[in-house]
């Protein structure tokens, strides 16, 4: 099967650089999949789970905010953070989720917009982590 080169780069360094069969990513307008020889494409990325498949083996990654660029049979993700599902510390992610929920409630009470957006972003990240961890456990 034809493959596409996948690269995930974060501010703390490249995370992955490998050839894969298919990539599924959380795009701005919903999830999208990219196969080999995809047309040039640029999309923003939301916090969520990215998955890629190689030789029937699927791997899951948690990614947060950034964008993806497809060109010349190569897909590059530039995201703020990325973490393999099996690397996720689930307990920590769950406590982060609860903390974020608490903060959201607090911020809503006091009407603090900045803290609310921040807490919501944290919640998104925690959820994405948990999701990625679960997916890779099942996969």
């Amino acid at each position: 099967m034809a493959t596409i080169n996948l690269e995930v780069v974060t501010p703390t360094g490249p995370v992955i650089s490998t050839d894969v069969d298919i990539v599924t990513a959380p795009g701005h307008g919903g999830e999208f999949g990219v196969l080999a020889n995809h047309a040039p494409f640029l999309s923003t990325i939301k916090t969520g789970t990215l998955s890629f498949k190689r030789d029937r083996e699927v791997k899951y990654l948690m990614v947060s905010g950034g964008f993806a660029e497809v060109s010349n049979n190569k897909i590059t993700f530039l995201v703020e953070s990325a973490e393999y599902g099996y690397d996720v510390d689930v307990d920590r992610a769950i406590s982060a989720k609860e903390r974020a929920l608490k903060r959201i409630a607090q911020a809503q009470q006091k009407g603090e917009q900045i803290n609310l957006t921040r807490a919501e972003a944290a919640l998104q990240r925690a959820l994405a982590r948990i999701q990625a961890a679960e997916n890779s456990r099942q996969g």
């Binding site: 703390t12 360094g13 490249p14 701005h28 047309a39 040039p40 640029l42 923003t44 905010g65 964008f67």
Partner: protein, 292 residues
């Protein structure tokens, strides 16, 4: 001739100082390695980011994006990035001097200047001008991406609300372990990135791209990120430069201590000899007197 004991105390003191400077030198060189690594791992991200931005902005007109809007300049904001701690030679003062010159230049053009200080040293200096709008202290040691995000969001908000019409960034760029120089960059409004290789070729490629969402909307997401990247980059550079500068400064200090110890030891030996000579003279004089 100073007293023997005085010289001896002084020698011990200088020796102790040299121990401290030597230790600081070693700590700085260990920290430098970490900071340099951090900086280098960020480089691919910046390179890719700038390339993608170039692709994107080549294909579109300046548009009506608030962060790219060029206005008549009446308020200028200068972001000064320095280290939190001193004892690193002229590194911070070089940055501060540059920022101050910039301020004087803008003021002579009749523009209002405000400061955003990242790192304690900048704040300590510019505090007295009363122009500091915001300062971020004690984040240079362990800074993360979200520190940079906080700063860039604040800068962008201030720019959009009209608090500033132009934003400059002054920081210390890491050239090598031996050389760090202050640099100035324009942050806002963001200029379209054009490659030196002519933009026509670029537009051809961009024409084929599919965007999701529309390029304009993507830019709205990317521009703040871009600002973020620039601030984070400056902080990383300053972080590495600070340690490199401290290494050099502490090395110099250790050498100066060595010189001083040599001189003092010479002085000490001279003083000791002359004391012995004095004692001998006394004994000889006393013996002569007894003979008589």
């Amino acid at each position: 001739m100073p007293g023997l004991k005085d010289v001896k105390t002084k020698i011990t003191g200088v020796k102790k100082t040299s121990q401290i400077t030597k230790a600081m030198n070693m700590v700085a060189s260990a920290k430098l390695r970490g900071a340099q690594e951090k900086m280098e791992s960020f480089r691919p991200y910046t390179a890719k980011f700038t390339a993608a931005m170039g692709n994107l902005s080549g294909g579109m007109e300046g548009g009506n994006l608030p962060l790219m809007e060029a206005r008549d300049i009446s308020n200028v904001e200068i972001v000064v990035v320095t280290s939190d701690r001193g004892l690193c030679g002229s590194f911070n003062s070089a940055i501060i001097t540059m920022a101050e010159k910039l301020m004087l230049k803008y003021q002579s053009e009749g523009k209002d200047v405000s400061f955003v200080c990242v790192g304690k040293k900048a704040f300590q200096y510019f505090r007295k001008t009363g122009k500091v709008r915001k300062s971020y202290n004690d984040i240079m040691g362990t800074f993360q991406m979200f520190n940079a995000r906080e700063i860039s969001q604040d800068l962008a908000a201030n720019f959009i609300s009209g608090g500033s019409d132009h934003v400059d960034l002054v920081y210390g760029k890491f050239h090598s372990v031996a050389s760090q120089k202050p640099e100035r960059e324009e942050l806002l409004p963001i200029k379209p990135i054009t490659d030196s290789e002519g933009s026509t070729q670029k537009t051809e490629i961009t024409g084929a791209y599919t965007y999701e969402p529309e390029p304009g909307e993507i830019m709205e997401v990317l521009l703040p990120l871009y600002l973020n990247v620039q601030i984070y980059h400056a902080m990383l550079e300053v972080g590495a430069s600070e340690h490199a500068a401290r290494m050099t400064a502490m090395d110099n200090a250790t050498n100066a201590c060595k010189d001083m110890i040599d001189q003092l030891t010479l002085l000490y030996n001279k003083a000791r000899q002359s004391a012995i000579t004095g004692d001998l003279m006394d004994i000889v004089g006393g013996a002569e007197a007894l003979k008589g």
